[in-house]
Subunit: 143 residues, 2 copies
DNA sequence: TTGACAAATGCAAATGGCTTGCATATACTA
DNA sequence: TAGTATATGCAAGCCATTTGCATTTGTCAA
């Protein structure tokens, strides 16, 4: 029943973005909502396999691009040679990526707004988006 | 003669990083120094061709990785599906990438130090590096 | 200056993320 | 419930990047 509610929510959301609500898409949305860090296409495919939902990689890549274009998702780059994706609805924040263990922590955005204002004023450049990730050693790996 | 001096400088620099100074490497360093924005491997190969220096792509990719490991270069991602590289010696700054015309402008780093301090204090995360690029519309493309 | 050795290179093949063309299937709307 | 735009599957292909291996070339000590 919980799933039904969830699926219903996503259905509405996808409708709002003018994209069709297919089983694969609903499952992907559910996965993205439940994930506490940006995921890559392989993680999505694995999840779908676990859920016994068949999907071709090409379909997922196309889905990701469509969702990014619609503003549903953001692309995130952790310098892994592949793209990760995150729900835009998760709000503005950045990531602390541990280069030792791979752990990812969220950190709220507290300086970018003013930075972007500054850019608009000083450079007359209209910022649409930015990417900011921090790389280093997490607390756990320091000891 | 100017070139000799330049080459000599790079030779010393490379020596400092404990890597061998080959003709290709000296040329690449010269190119990176003269460039006012991060360059990709193809741009490097084109430059070398113009300078009549033969080099295999694999060699350049290996060179880039070695230089990044040694701290000579930084990797930069402009969301183009390929990596750009920039001399670390060019200092801390970020880029304004126009998604319309592709123009790249530098902007000095004015908020990251405090942000990183905050991260160290609040999250006990030891920041080694970060990536920050802004995407939007440049002044030229706004009119 | 030379000889030895580690490091760098060239070439070819392979990898991997991502895209594309086309035929088919499916979700939405009237 | 039929019609249509959209989404999907599959196969082929693209492009950035890596890798194995044989060969060459800096570097440094003698």
């Amino acid at each position: 029943m919980f799933n039904l509610i969830k699926n219903h929510d996503c259905r509405q959301e996808l409708k709002g973005f003018e994209v069709k609500a297919t089983p694969a898409r609903l499952a992907v949305m559910k996965f993205l909502e439940s994930s506490n860090q940006p995921v890559d296409v392989n993680a999505i495919l694995d999840y779908l396999t676990r859920e016994s939902i068949h999907a071709d990689p090409a379909t997922i890549f196309r889905m990701m691009n469509a969702f990014v274009d619609k503003g549903i998702l953001k692309k995130i780059d952790f310098r892994e040679g592949k793209t990760r994706y995150e729900l835009s609805s998760k709000g503005d924040h950045h990531h602390l990526v541990c280069t030792n263990c791979g752990n990812v922590e969220r950190i709220e955005d507290s300086h970018m707004k003013e930075f972007e204002e500054e850019i608009k004023k000083k450079k007359k450049f209209l910022v649409k988006s930015h990417s900011l990730e921090f790389f280093g050693i997490c607390q756990n790996c320091q000891s």
